[in-house]
């Protein structure tokens, strides 16, 4: 085949052709981990599409063959009325472009296939929900607009750094009720109408045409002005193109033993050697960080799905063994069966990076010289950022994305006016808002820290927080702010205006009360690492930490390490 490769342990090509995500999937195959069957359309096909404005000749046939293989593997039929095959269609460039590339889930769920899925599973709301997911992700991709809000169907928020596995919507009104079916039908109708208006064409009700459109949409998303600007800013060549990954869908919303999540092999906030992440039971989704649902700490998986948990730990171990570094995965479990959807190295920063490199050297996974080379002086700049000492001993109220590093302690204010009044009365204030707008500017200025339920690292709140140098946490799934009553609710707990909270703008934690705060979380590890640095450079004189590290780097470079 010219444009398409089946994803297996046999594939040899590099990220330049397959994209980074597919290379990760090949690795998972090689490690013997469970990966949904799939294939990748190469970046060459994307480059041909961008050059000619249409999919390259021969791709149609190759897609048909590749889909036929998936049908055989799964024992299902694509768009068929019985045992339908649904697939995910995801971008996978050689470089990361967070939040900019399209993902389409549950593709192939035509009207007929959806009816078939309902019969097969005996769960009509599940089938309709899955089709709604398809429609809303397809609509967002082909219109290049966020269709998430259309018909209140989906949770596609504007949070930035996103994986593609993820966690879906939260507000299911009594599953299986007639009301729910009506709601789903209305939402689907609204999305189909939205696409007809925006693109002048209906969403195809033919699985093969859905696939071709989705592939075109993902290729096109490489070349939006926003994506071009992002590449110009980050020195990424425009001619790389993206690959497209098509995989058999696994359903985290299938039943009570299904769900989805993300996991790091070690804690990315501290570097401590315990798995860390989030899980959402009974949902499938698109984006674990932007969903409107409340995720649960990863360790709850151990209690609720011990078999899945054991498999997950094994997977994390094997992947760490391969990378000789911390790792990150996205996963779904369907009816008690684990599937790994994406993998990459952990890419920790600051103190967490220092701790992991030091501990890996002590575990003799890597040498001391390699540990030194993994830490750049840029990491050291972040080691001294104040942090909440330990999320284990703190009472974590909610967790979002850290948008401006630092710790702020203050009393909750749910409106800007209240924040100003409380600050004038001499109180330290943390402003907690659904999101911010110019109306909140005087409150933002009066506050010592900022929390928003919505938004990502480039939201209005995040930009303003950094401009004002206020620690900030944004994008907290499941946090609701009732400014009228002056209350904030998350994870089933409600706190009121005036409650003392502490926020950590690095980890994204919102903690009740005033926990222990440290400015040297990785102190011991840093001391050990810098002692190795002095041994390496042979210079034990007193000087700054960066200089000690740089001298070691220089010595290693000189010796050709």
């Amino acid at each position: 085949m010219r444009w398409v490769r089946a994803i297996s342990s046999q594939v040899e090509e590099a990220a330049e052709t397959l994209g980074g995500k597919a290379v990760g999937l090949v690795l998972l195959h090689r490690l013997g981990l469970p990966v949904p069957a799939g294939f990748v359309i190469t970046t060459q096909a994307c480059r041909a599409f961008l050059r000619d404005g249409r999919l390259p000749d021969g791709l149609d046939d190759e897609l048909a063959t590749a889909i036929a293989d998936l049908e055989v593997t799964a024992g299902r039929s694509f768009g068929g009325p019985r045992r339908p095959l649904a697939v995910s269609v995801r971008s996978g460039a050689g470089v990361s472009m967070p939040g900019m590339m399209s993902t389409i889930l549950n593709l192939g769920l035509t009207t007929e296939a959806t009816a078939g899925l309902a019969v097969e599973t005996g769960d009509r709301p599940f089938a309709l929900n899955s089709r709604l997911r398809f429609l809303s992700s397809f609509a967002s991709a082909v219109t290049n607009a966020d269709a998430g809000g259309v018909g209140n169907a989906s949770d596609a928020g504007d949070a930035g750094d996103a994986g593609d596995a993820g966690v879906g919507h939260g507000e299911d009104p009594g599953r299986g009720t007639k009301d729910e079916e009506t709601r789903l039908a209305d939402a689907m109708k609204a999305i189909e109408e939205f696409v007809r208006q925006r693109s002048g064409q209906p969403i195809p009700d033919d699985a093969t045409r859905q696939l071709a459109s989705a592939v075109e949409a993902v290729f096109s998303s490489w070349d939006t002005p926003r994506a071009r600007t992002y590449r110009a800013l980050h020195d990424i060549p425009h001619d790389l193109g993206t690959a497209v990954i098509v995989q058999t869908m696994v359903f985290g919303n299938r039943d009570d033993h299904s769900g989805t999540g993300v996991a790091f092999s070690r804690d990315p906030n501290t570097g401590e050697n315990i798995p860390f992440g989030e899980v959402l039971f009974g949902h499938q989704g698109e984006d674990v960080v932007s969903g409107r649902s409340t995720t649960r700490p990863l360790r709850e998986l151990a209690e609720r799905e011990p078999a899945v948990w054991a498999e997950l730990l094994d997977a994390l171990n094997r992947i760490e063994g391969h990378y000789r570094d911390s790792c990150y995965i996205e996963f779904t479990f369907q009816a008690g069966e684990l599937w790994v959807l994406q993998v990459r190295p952990g890419r920790f920063v600051g103190g967490a990076a220092v701790r992991v490199a030091t501990e890996l050297a002590e575990e003799r996974v890597i040498g001391r010289h390699e540990a030194l080379l993994r830490i750049s002086p840029r990491h050291l700049r972040q080691v001294r950022t104040p942090r909440i000492a330990s999320s284990e001993e703190a009472d974590v109220f909610a967790r979002g994305l850290g948008a401006c590093p630092g710790v702020a302690v203050g009393h909750v204010a749910t409106t800007a006016d209240r924040a100003v009044r409380m600050a004038q009365g001499g109180a330290l204030v943390v402003l907690v808002r659904p999101e911010t707008s110019p109306h909140d500017m005087h409150g933002l200025a009066a506050a010592t820290g900022i929390v928003t339920a919505r938004g990502g690292p480039a939201s209005h709140a995040a930009v303003v927080a950094r401009a004002m140098e206020r620690p900030a946490v944004v994008g907290i799934a499941g946090l609701t702010v009732d400014a009228g009553n002056g209350t904030v609710t998350a994870g089933g707990r409600t706190i009121g205006d005036g409650t003392l909270i502490t926020i950590d703008g690095t980890s994204g934690e919102v903690v009740l009360g005033r926990p222990r705060i440290v400015a040297n979380a990785a102190d011991e590890h840093l001391h050990r690492l810098l002692a190795w640095a002095d041994d390496t450079s042979g210079d034990h004189s007193r000087r700054g930490e960066s200089q000690r590290l740089e001298a070691a780097h220089a010595a290693l470079r000189a010796s050709g390490a």
Partner: protein, 208 residues
């Protein structure tokens, strides 16, 4: 029905609506927002205060803000204006185009504030003029694409014309070295852009 070309917003509504879009503000910022002289702004504020539509907040930085009544009055008057200028279709179309540009603008602001080197993100300390000018070039590029959207808006409702001037002014000042005009000052590109976003939502009676 008044044609949109001839529609001008009266000073009273301009000041009221400026507070709706900019949030709490003093006469200097309202002057920048509306283009009215500060003395005219103050006189309108006094009238609006007498009507109970705005209130003065004292403190370190005295400023004015809308009352709930003022917010409702603004919604009603600004909708009337949109209807009588027959401008809803044009503003809606421009808003759709604005929403395509908005995430890109926010990406640019983030890139101005945070810089990723070797995979590690740190605050941009503005010590590398090459990087800063690359980001500013992208701002200028976005601004060129935003210009026709602003032009459509001011053709539909002339009061939108201020945004073009203020956005271009912020970029000019940033390019000549006043870096706070990108994201940090109350007249920064980001601030003006966010006010335009809020104005579009308020004008169309939409929520975020």
């Amino acid at each position: 029905m008044t044609r949109s070309e001839t529609h001008t917003t009266n000073a009273n509504l301009l000041v009221l609506h400026a507070l709706r879009c900019a949030g709490a503000a003093g006469p200097a910022r309202l002057h920048a927002f509306t283009g009215l002289d500060e003395s005219d702004v103050e006189s309108e504020l006094i009238d609006l205060g007498a009507e109970g539509l705005v209130t003065r907040m004292s403190g370190d930085m005295p400023c004015w803000l809308l009352t709930d009544t003022g917010r409702a009055a603004d919604a009603e008057r600004i909708t009337d204006e949109l209807t009588s200028a027959n401008a809803r279709g044009a503003v809606e179309a421009a808003f759709d185009r604005f929403l395509v540009l908005n995430p890109e603008l926010l990406d640019l602001c983030a890139a101005w504030q945070l810089r990723t080197v070797d995979g590690i993100m740190n605050a941009n300390d503005h010590s590398d003029p090459v990087y800063d000018s690359r980001v500013l070039d992208r701002f200028a590029d976005l601004d060129r694409r935003a210009a026709p959207v602003c032009a459509e808006l001011s053709a539909a409702l002339p009061r939108f014309g201020r945004y073009r001037d203020r956005l271009a002014g912020a970029l000019d000042r940033a390019a000549s070295g006043a870096l706070e005009y990108v994201t940090d000052s109350t007249a920064s590109y980001h601030t003006v852009w966010a006010e335009l976003h809020e104005d579009l939502l308020a004008t169309l009676g939409m929520r975020r």
